[in-house]
């Protein structure tokens, strides 16, 4: 009996040692390189979609590793490797720098001037601010205009109710999300909800389920609910440019399904992959796209959403204090 009791006791005590998470690589350049490469290899969601040969990238950058000495050159090498992903949602954060890919908007015309929208022709100086929304009436009282610069700025139903009440005599509404680099998906859903009559499936999302580049979960529906009390049922124009990224991209994707909405401006910057983060042994944080989002046709939104009406900001108009894209929206709402 004593013998069996001892065996049972030893078995219970030894059980925890049988289950271990793989130990992270050591905190060396080699260890941190391996760690970063593996995180992207197993958890980044667009390697196949973007036809990126991540094994080749390993070879190219790993052979440069012995020649790197010091923290900053090592960081730069890691940043260059991540740059190959061409993804605005991929960053490496250290105590001294943040690696980034900004070509998704830097290589394109800006199509936005904050100076223009605050001239007397548009918002002027006496516009109202409710939550993160700057709003006023333009085009001689015929069009409501809201500029929303960041989906990180909160707003409430009350904010929207006041803004929409002030637009009660307007025939249409412009929501300008140019230069809005994103923020919270909850605000994206909330803002879109005011423009739907019924709960509507506006897209899908998946996430990585395994180490393989195409190991994804089944798509889960992204539903935009119709707001119960506040519903704008007149035409609405969404103004976009390349800087409309991430949560803004998601908002535009939702508004593509709204019954009276029209998208005007430039293609959005994309950022269709919901990012997550992880850490390297040296404590640097890496952010990467993890969960791809799709439109209603299961088309990826990583490379942006095309507008219904493509319009660029004309330099001549800009010189005359005219925002070409707002003017086109006013015309479209007539």
């Amino acid at each position: 009996m004593k013998k069996y009791s001892l065996i049972v006791l030893l078995a219970v005590l030894s059980l925890p040692s049988c289950m271990n998470e793989p130990a992270p690589p050591p905190n060396t350049h080699e260890g941190n390189f391996q760690s970063l490469w593996k995180i992207i290899d197993t958890r980044y969601c667009y390697l196949d979609y973007k036809h990126i040969n991540w094994d080749s990238i390993y070879t190219v950058y790993h052979q440069q590793l012995p020649s790197v000495t010091g923290e900053v050159p090592f960081f730069d090498l890691m940043g260059k490797m991540l740059f190959e992903l061409k993804d605005g949602h991929v960053n490496l954060y250290s105590e001294f720098d943040v690696s980034r890919y900004w070509k998704w908007f830097q290589d394109y015309p800006s199509n936005f001037s904050s100076t223009l929208i605050y001239t007397s022709r548009y918002l002027g100086q006496n516009y109202r601010m409710a939550g993160g929304l700057n709003y006023g009436i333009i085009d001689n009282g015929r069009i409501g205009y809201i500029y929303y610069g960041s989906f990180s700025d909160p707003f409430s139903d009350a904010n929207i109710a006041y803004a929409m009440n002030s637009f009660s005599k307007c025939r249409g509404l412009i929501i300008d999300v140019r230069d809005n680099g994103g923020g919270s998906l909850d605000y994206s859903k909330q803002l879109a909800s005011y423009f739907f009559k019924n709960d509507t499936i506006t897209g899908y999302m998946r996430h990585k389920t395994g180490d393989g580049h195409s190991d994804f979960s089944k798509p889960v529906e992204i539903t935009t609910p119709a707001h119960k009390t506040i519903q704008w049922q007149r035409p609405v124009a969404i103004l976009t440019n390349r800087m409309s990224f991430s949560a803004t991209n998601d908002f535009v994707n939702r508004m593509n399904c709204a019954p009276h909405a029209i998208i005007i401006g430039d293609r959005t910057g994309g950022g269709g992959g919901l990012p997550l983060s992880s850490e390297l042994p040296n404590g640097w944080l890496v952010r990467f796209s993890s969960s791809p989002m799709y439109d209603t046709n299961m088309l990826d939104t990583e490379f942006g959403i095309a507008p219904d009406i493509s319009v660029a900001l004309s330099a001549a108009d800009q010189a005359n204090g005219i925002d070409t894209i707002i003017e086109r929206a006013i015309l479209a709402l007539k």
Binding site: V12, L13, L15, P16, C18, M19, N20, E21, P24, N27, S35, R43, Y93, E95, L185, D186, K189, M205, H207, K208, T209, G210, S217, V220, E221, I222, T223, L274, P275, L276, S277, S278, E279, P281, N282, G283, W284, L285, R287, S290, S291
Partner: protein
């Protein structure tokens, strides 16, 4: 004078009869122990980070134990409430994790008295635990919830060490989870996808010794002083569980200090306090 003496005897007899009656009535003592702990914690939560976070924590435990009933004294009921908070750092000390947890358990033990000064308790308990870990700098995975309920095996060995002026009580308790249920998030999915979009597939797991193992021994000494009994001790906790291709790990070593005392609970129609007890409610 005779009448007065007789009256005094009757009154005295009446009082002694009452006292005797009071002595025959048995009341259950509840042993209540409140302890505070200072812990060294080591924690791996792969949903938040692949690195091991280490740091310190503080904990409070309220434990009460009493016999099943006035007549069934071989069985005892134990309930415990644990509160814990910790502050941990990653190995490079570039990121911090805040950790809070609460656990409540209710269990039952059968008592053995194998020898003089010895008391052994063997039994089991059912617990429910809720915890939250937060790594503020993470993006879209800044926190993770621990939620689990378990059936645990539990054992306590108590030995009284008589000394010259007092008797010390040495106590070793051990717990280990056997079977239960746990919540584990989907690796690679955000809380937005799980809870805003409702993708809850794969977050609920049956747990057993195959995917959730742990051991929680605690060695304490009760030292009676003039007006109180103090408890000091050492605790250790090792818990590992795996689901959704992630292995979670928590190791904790604690220094424990607290007090223990016996109390009687009166309440309800059946358990009214006798008249020789003074209540502030009277």
């Amino acid at each position: 004078m005779k009448k007065l003496l007789l009256f005094a005897l009757v009154v005295l007899c009446d009082f002694s009869l009452f006292a005797q009656k009071g002595d025959e009535q048995k009341y259950l003592l509840t042993t209540i122990t409140n302890t505070y702990g200072l812990s060294g914690i080591s924690l791996i939560d792969p949903y938040l980070s692949p690195l091991t976070y280490t740091g310190t924590g503080i904990q409070f435990e309220h434990e009460s134990r009493r016999c099943w009933s006035e007549t069934t004294t071989r069985l005892s009921i134990q309930s415990k409430l644990d509160l814990e908070a910790g502050y941990l750092l990653n190995p490079a000390q570039t990121s911090a994790m805040n950790y809070v947890a609460v656990n409540y358990s209710k269990g039952i033990h059968y008592q053995f008295k194998p020898g003089n000064g010895w008391l052994l308790l063997a039994g089991a308990n059912l617990d429910i635990g809720l915890g939250y870990k937060d790594v503020a700098r993470n993006i879209n995975n800044p926190g993770n919830v621990d939620l689990a309920t378990n059936f645990n095996l539990s054992g306590i060995a108590i030995y009284d060490i008589p000394l010259n002026r007092r008797t010390l009580r040495l106590q070793l308790s051990v717990e280990t989870p056997v079977i239960g249920w746990m919540y584990v998030p989907l690796a690679g999915a955000s809380y937005y996808e799980m809870f805003s979009l409702g993708n809850l597939t794969g977050i609920s797991h049956f747990s057993s010794v195959f995917n959730r193992r742990g051991i929680h021994p605690k060695l304490t000494v009760d030292i009676p002083l003039k007006r109180s009994v103090w408890r000091i001790g050492l605790g250790y906790q090792k818990l590992q569980y795996t689901a959704n291709n992630m292995v979670f790990d928590r190791t904790e070593t604690s220094l424990i200090l607290g007090t223990t005392f016996d109390a009687i609970h009166f309440g309800g129609r059946m358990r009214k306090a006798p008249k020789n007890f003074i209540s502030p409610n009277d």
